[in-house]
């Protein structure tokens, strides 16, 4: 049996990069969604929630079409930036970021919305700018939601299959992630190799979620 760690490490790399990008863009978007009175809010909220209901293969299919060098966007990227996103790790990142948006943004936006108005106003009357209020009041208030959204986004990206198969294919050491490797090993009846890849994902995901639960655990008070 072949103990190939690379698909698992590629999955970890993709999940880490995706989570960092989503944290950076997710918090400002969540803040906008929570506090805007713009008429565009329902439209942006729908866009953010869309990946939740679409089959990953549908998103993958449209990304494949969009990034294909045969189409204008893909051709533009290749001609001007020498960047080909189909069947590349960079393409996987973009697809995963899009797919992970609701998992990062929805919980953070609802936690921001729950931040009492008086806390924000108290910071303003104490002379604090909007930016300082976000940093020192709103984000700390929502730190559990941000932490939980980060873990869920990471774990979700780690297990993604349909989308990454569509965009990245299965190029060894490049786009062949753990979930794809498992599928292919089973297809070839290499059950031991499939077990190996599956156990890695299973144990890692369990430990990740378990550590999260431990950090959140508060024993109930006995009366």
């Amino acid at each position: 049996m072949d103990y190939d760690f690379i698909p698992f490490l590629l999955s970890l790399k993709l999940a880490s990069i995706t989570t960092v990008i989503l944290l950076l863009i997710g918090i400002p978007i969540a803040h906008w969604l929570a506090f805007t009175s713009s008429k565009l809010k329902p439209f942006i909220h729908t866009l953010v929630a869309l990946p939740l209901v679409l089959p990953p293969s549908v998103i993958g299919f449209y990304f494949l079409l969009l990034f294909s060098p045969a189409n204008s966007v893909g051709k533009f990227l290749e001609d001007n930036f020498n960047l080909r996103l189909v069947f590349s790790f960079e393409g996987l990142i973009i697809g995963s970021v899009f797919f992970g948006i609701p998992f990062m943004i929805n919980p953070i936006a609802s936690s921001f919305e729950n931040c009492p108005r008086s806390l924000i106003e108290a910071a303003y009357t104490l002379g604090k700018s909007k930016w300082e209020t976000i940093q020192r009041v709103i984000i700390p208030f929502s730190k559990t939601a941000i932490f939980s959204a980060t873990i869920m986004t990471f774990a979700h990206t780690l297990g993604e299959f349909g989308l990454v198969l569509m965009i990245g294919g299965s190029i060894p050491d490049k786009t062949k992630l753990a979930s794809i490797a498992i599928y292919q090993e089973v297809e070839m009846l290499h059950y031991e190799s499939a077990h190996f890849q599956s156990i890695l994902i299973l144990m890692f995901s369990f430990l990740l979620l378990f550590s999260f639960q431990i950090t959140q655990y508060k024993p109930r008070k006995k009366f």
Partner: protein
């Protein structure tokens, strides 16, 4: 002298319009009336948290709002201390950090210590707000509001959730601080016993208007 002229429609079922005219010195003015008559809105307009449709706000010689000349300072630019009804203490910060957050000069720790001592909360400095009683929270909220040495102190039902003893203590502390800082205090209340002892004048508010000032 301080001057407040405010006109603002209140979002209540009865379509009441807030129409207030008030001049006061460095004294404690109680704004007394039933719920929904616009008392809190007056404080919010002075602090810049709500905007009146028309009006003029001048505190300690500086104009904070003037609808005719289009002056409207942000809450950050107005020098107010605001004691919120729900205390609005930052749950992620302990008592000392809540107060440090309010300091104008981060190095002015002796002043912070003095204020903390004046509300008898020095031993609570490292405690988080959720471990404090209502009275303790209110004293910290009051300490945080005066820490910036504001030009005016606005208090929204500051004693409503406190028991009798806690009320008496805080009333005395507020009186003491008013004398020390020499600033005006606008004190919203719907309970006459809470304000009779401390207020120099009481503005009786009904349907958005001051019907009596004594």
């Amino acid at each position: 002298m301080n001057k407040i002229l405010l006109k603002k429609s209140l979002n209540t079922k009865s379509n009441t319009t807030l129409d207030i005219e008030l001049e006061f010195k460095d004294e404690i003015i109680a704004l007394f009336g039933k719920s929904g008559v616009g008392k809190t809105t007056i404080l919010r307009c002075i602090a810049g948290l709500s905007n009146p449709e028309e009006g003029y706000i001048e505190i300690n010689g500086s104009i904070w709002f003037d609808s005719i000349n289009k002056v409207n300072l942000s809450p950050q630019q107005r020098d107010v201390g605001f004691v919120f009804q729900d205390y609005a203490l930052f749950p992620n910060m302990n008592v000392q950090d809540n107060l440090k957050f309010a300091l104008k000069d981060k190095n002015d720790l002796p002043w912070l210590e003095r204020v903390l001592e004046s509300v008898k909360m020095t031993s609570f400095a490292k405690r988080k707000p959720d471990t404090l009683s209502g009275g303790e929270k209110q004293r910290i909220a009051f300490a945080r509001a005066i820490l910036r040495k504001p030009k005016i102190l606005l208090m929204d039902e500051p004693l409503s959730a406190l028991d009798y003893e806690a009320r008496l203590t805080l009333q005395e502390e507020i009186l003491f601080c008013q004398k020390e800082l020499q600033i005006p205090i606008l004190w919203v209340s719907h309970d006459k016993t809470e304000i009779e002892k401390v207020a120099s004048r009481i503005a009786f508010i009904e349907d958005g208007k001051i019907v009596r000032l004594e």
